[in-house]
Amino acid sequence: MTRLSVSRSERGDVKPHFDAFEVETGPAATVLDALLQVRRDQDRSLVVRHSCMHASCGTCGVRINGREMLACDSKVASLPAGKPIKVEPLAGQRLVADIATDMADFYARFEAAGMPPVRVSEAPAGAEPPAGIKAFARFEGCIECGLCLSACPVARTNRDFIGPAALAAAARLVDEPRGRDPGPVLALAAEPDSVWRCSDAMECTAVCPSAVDPAQALLRIRRRVAADGVRRLFRRG
């Protein structure tokens, strides 16, 4: 038997409360499976975001026992048995209801970086595209789940901080411009509430379900911004 303690709130509620549920789950069940089972069998009103079920769409990000995770990517069996699994919405975002967050804030930042969703594929090694395909393509690693923004200690206190996902996207565009001018994203990174606000807590990289490593990306773009600044200084002098 899997026990869940799920944060609940409707639009207009000032403070959430927790509801307890118990469901029978199989050995391979994920926290998302358990939540959907609750919605199907016990409480139709549970508001939960989900779509792909395989860590590709990024919609089911929540905090599980206080840690940012994709609900579809967290096996019930991997969590400590004997106490209820605590499920809360991501931090620092507006709430739709219950454990579903409104991603408008996240996407406003993310969109500012303007990263095209498709990149050049790096694997498998030695693959030669056929005539008619210039380079094999693949979707970017970032699945826009917002876990990094929720886990970031700076974003929690400074609402204006552009945050790890957007800066990692900016760094990707500098790494692989795909015909674009990286100037605007470098300017974005050089803004006051951008790379210089990061405190190197590395929480973003710790919670990223897609191995994007926003912390390293941020360091990379920060070095670039710094180098550009020094160059400008000398040019002026």
């Binding site: 395989h54 579809c72 594929s121 694997a123 693949r138």
Partner: protein, 492 residues
Amino acid sequence: MPKQVGPLDRKPDAKAKKPAGAKPSRSGGRARETAKPAAEKPAAERASSSAALPARSAPTADAAPTPGLPARSAPHVLIIGGGGTGGALAHDLALRGLRVTLVERGEVTSGSTGRHHGLLHSGARYATTDRPTAIECSAENKILRRICPGSFEENDGLYVALTDEDAAYADLFLEAAWQCAVPAKRIERDAALRMEPGLNPDLKFAVQVPDATMDAMRMPLRFFATARSHGAQIKPFTEVMAVTMSGRTVTGVTVRDHAAGREYEIGADIVINAAGPWAGRVAALAGATVPLVLTAGLMVAVRGRHCNTVVSRLRAPDDGDIVVPQRASTIAGTSSWIVEDPDDMGVPPDRVETIVGDGAMLVPALAGAEIRATWTAVRPLVGEGPAGARRKGAKNGRRVGVGVGAGAVAAAGAAAGATPDGREIGRGMRCIDHAHDAAPTEGFVTIVGGKATTLRAMAEATADVVCARLGLDCRCGTADYVLLPHTAWYTA
């Protein structure tokens, strides 16, 4: 991100859309029989809104519609179901100038849409068994690449022959593909291995086709975003509790907004049931039935990108015949078995092993890769529905893609309970105007069947039926309308 959003500059590329050996229109050569009876009963009878529409509602191919908000007097269409079909339909109807409201019980794309493996069909898969679907996929594949730039990994697909039996199937396969306007070509073993070093080196040869991988959520989100920019109201977490009726005429729905914890009614001139596998339940709320057979497709995602092209087995459609790369993962699929409950989330462990094993026949690295996720998606296939609810031929609606080859046989077989896996049921769509049911229901239309690849065509067919029923003369503008990026769904 697309450089241009909105109507494309019209280039005379009709040639590209007209495959040799077949005469599909954009709608895949479907019969238009439902339009006629609908025209005989104009919407005026239903005491609804005016049949006149704002200027942009009658776009021609030469003058694509200019977006704006619908007129207050425009008819109001309510769509139940926020999957790809519902989203594409909201976009289509909004572009034609109608007022649109879409309700979805969960997040948009949270049903079958988001869960599929992401194959943008070239059409080759169905060329030998379900020709109308193959032709439609081929046409829609090109259209979607044009209106959703940036939403696909455009790396083509390889059908791999591993056995003598596979090799013997090749001629039939190639011929059928060409007949359906799918540009398929045979490539030799070494060329295939240069393209895909991770292929099973024992392959005999391969057939290259223009498959691609789509982002199963973000591509449909672009339809939702664009629909909303044209005034469509999209309401996630809003579940239909009842269909309101006046006699045998549907007048709207009662919904529960789970996020706000309140119930309310929404009136509509026409209600469209686009609930996918849940379409039978929604129809039941209106006292109608839908010829639906649900089959579960099992998929397994493993870590690591082990190929770039979509790799399929060169044989008739079967379990474990496809490997789809997606981002940094690789997905093996699928299996098929008939299910009763669309909310059934069961994943039989023995089938997982089989699917991975079958995938590893094509791309051996799958065998040793770490499994990231296992899940099922439920396909809402057009069958003959629950026993006793069998319909009489195409009279009840537009019947598409079930009429050729295995499809027709399968539909009959399903009703007799003779199909344990539902694999041979056609993948065609069916748009049903329930006014033509044996026990008619007015103002209620259902769209079922189809593929993720054909979402736009399904929307076009349904919107045509809706407009005919409302007595409106307005044409579809979606085939040449570049959609907003998916991020606009959140930020606009």
